[in-house]
Amino acid sequence: MTDTKRSEAGPSVRARFAAVSHWWNGQSRPVQWAYMVPVVLFLLALPVLNPPIITTEPYTDFPISLFNAAVFALIAIGLNVVIGQAGLLDLGYVGFFAIGAYTAALLSSPDSELGVRYPWLVIVPIAMVVTMISGVILGTPTLRLRGDYLAIVTLGFGEIVRLLADNVDPLRGNRGFQNIARPGGEFPDGTPIFSQTDALGFYWLAVIIIVIVLLFMGNLERSRVGRAWIAVREDEDAAELSGVPTYRFKIWAFAIGAAVGGLSGTLFAAQVGYVNNQRFDVTTSILYLAAVVLGGQGNKVGVIVGAFLVSYIPDRFQFEPQYRFLVFGIALIVLMIFRPQGLLGMRQHLLTYGRQAYRKLFGAGAAVAPSGLSASSRARGDLPETTPDDHAGTSPRGGGE
């Protein structure tokens, strides 16, 4: 029904975008990474350059603002595994972030009753394992349920984590933990690289962590696990019938998403150096959701852009925190109605990897055969018709307005 509308909507812009993405997807992965190097270098240099229009100063310290955006991006990448890849609506993601931050606090703060002070690098793997386990604990009973129940149970989970932080005495409630460990290291002139006042070092660290996590996620996406997630997202019953152990892969998605959440929690705790129960209410989860949906579920680069917007725009344009929730709440509605695929669409070519491999093996003539996945998503009515010969996945999901 919307096909006619689609063809009218700005063909030149779309064609150009499609051409760029076609060209991009045609490059081999090492070449793609080679192109990414200057981008990453530019991002690393951004706080030092402090460009006039982009900067958030004098209102907010620019490196700190960028660091917060980077943590947000890391969270969005983790949440994207759960929402974008596996199609599970997790509204309690802030719970994992909190568990990561509290693990860091318990293992390194002098206020902790454990009485230990581990270095940050030791804490990170521990925190990731702890959050992963908590993800499995949450997922085991709930992932058997229908998707919409999952949403409300995870919402409850996020709230339980906060209530535990409030009520359990060793977690110190409002008093919180101070002097949480941060990574060591000094600049040549003797000032510490990682300090609370200057977030520059932490921002660099966050960007590097994001790059590593992206490498990991990219490989995961193209592996059997990633294909299984997409199958679960597109049609769980069909996936199960095709021999995908959906339950197990959903738990994997939850666990991996949780681990990334825990990682970002430790990063945040290290930079701020202080953790108490005030930072983890469930409303924050909705901002995470907004970041993922805004950028484009299932698109790693998209969610980074989304996270950057959600975190950076309020800093840059100085709107009150209360308007922030309002704006992004409305953004969720508007996006779902007018552009459900987000700013950058889902990377559809992941779906067609199987087809491309098939074509390589058996020649172009056989390309029509294994098109089960994209055919099923097309049947849902939100994919443009694709001829078997174009790069199938290169057009963004939904293909336009």
Binding site: R117, R182, G329, I337
Partner: protein
């Protein structure tokens, strides 16, 4: 900066050292109780109080259940519809000239009239808000055949947008306490006092429930609701106007939430706050699932059970754990009986 005296190997070996972990595991101070004595002592008081709370949950749960039955959608924003009702009541109180803090010096009949007026305002406001929400947020998605996840995300977005609008208009602090009808014990059951408020709330909730139940099961519109719940396509072919049925469903849910808002504010006069719907919404949803979502009688039963269980939990574990009890109950129900006590489906409840 951190002291540089912690070599990696030793650190890792001490991570799993039991001596390190003990303070977390055997912490002896009482941040959580297990007070069976108090539970038994307050058994009847808890039960009665729980039934009163539970009827409020049940009224809100009816809204979740109706919408779920018809659209298979968890209407996350229903809790905000309820909050709109609460503010409808509160602003009516203010408009009638009641001041926060002071008890009104009016004859009983006038107070009851004022309460009924506030209730009607709340019902109208919440009903209109629910229908408006459906129009703005859900109908465009239905037109576009959006996937389920899109509906859920929209619902969440709507919930937050409404919440923040209320916050911006009325501020983030709870409104002042306006208590029209102070609770006073009327009689006792097994030594537990029963207040006038509790009697009114329980009886009126059950009356509202009976009206809603009869409406769905007996009336022509109710038959339409059940038909759409059972099979939207066939119902449309049989001449049921689906859009109208959906609108009516939201309207009924909103009106019931308005009633619940009045009772809520009578029980907890300090409860008019922009985010007050969040907890109550989750609890009402729990109640709906507990009884079997999509099932009207299930919502009532679930609400009452949840209200009572929560009070028992509060006595047993201590006041801070009251909300945790509800969440844990939700998870347990979903694990062991995801279809709820009375089973699901609006359609199958005596078609």
């Amino acid at each position: 900066m951190r002291a540089p005296d912690a070599p990696g190997e030793r650190v890792i070996s001490t991570v799993l050292d039991p001596a390190v972990l003990t303070p977390l595991v055997v912490h002896t101070e009482a941040w959580i109780n297990f007070d069976v004595g108090l539970l038994i002592d307050r058994f009847w008081a808890n039960t009665i109080n729980g039934l009163a709370y539970g009827s409020i949950y049940a009224l809100v749960a009816l809204g979740y259940t109706l919408v779920y039955g018809v659209l298979q959608l968890i209407n996350f924003a229903h809790s905000e519809i309820f909050v709109i009702g609460v503010f409808g009541v509160y602003l009516t109180f203010l408009g009638l000239g009641f001041e926060p803090g002071a008890l009104p010096n009016l004859p009983l009949a006038a107070i009851i009239l004022d309460l009924i007026l506030a209730g009607i305002v709340a019902m109208v406001v919440a009903g209109i808000a629910a229908v408006g929400l459906e129009r703005v947020a859900y109908r465009p998605l239905r037109r576009r055949n959006a996937p389920r996840l899109a509906f859920l995300i929209t619902a969440i977005g709507a919930s937050f947008a409404i919440q923040q609008v209320i916050r911006i208009v009325r501020g983030s602090n709870p409104e002042g306490t306006i208590r029209l009808l102070p609770p006073s014990p009327v009689f006792t059951i097994f030594g537990a006092p029963v207040t006038n408020l509790q009697i009114v709330i329980i009886l009126a909730s059950i009356a509202m429930f009976v009206v809603a139940d009869q409406f769905v099961n007996r009336s022509r519109l109710g038959r339409g609701i059940r038909a759409v719940a059972q099979d939207p396509a066939t119902a449309t072919l049989m001449g049921v106007n689906r859009e109208r049925v959906i609108m009516i469903t939201f309207l009924v849910g909103g009106v019931l939430a308005g009633v619940a808002a009045l009772f809520y504010l009578m029980t907890i006069p300090q409860g008019a706050v922009y985010n007050g719907g969040f907890l109550l919404g989750i609890k009402a949803f729990t109640a709906a699932v507990l009884g079997g979502i999509g099932n009207l009688r299930g919502a009532l039963l679930g609400g009452l059970i949840l209200g009572v269980a929560e009070n028992y939990g509060q006595s047993l574990f201590g006041g801070d754990w009251r909300d945790v009890v509800a969440f844990v109950l939700l998870v347990l129900v979903l694990m062991f009986r995801p279809t709820g006590i009375l089973g699901e489906s609006l359609a199958r409840s005596r078609a």
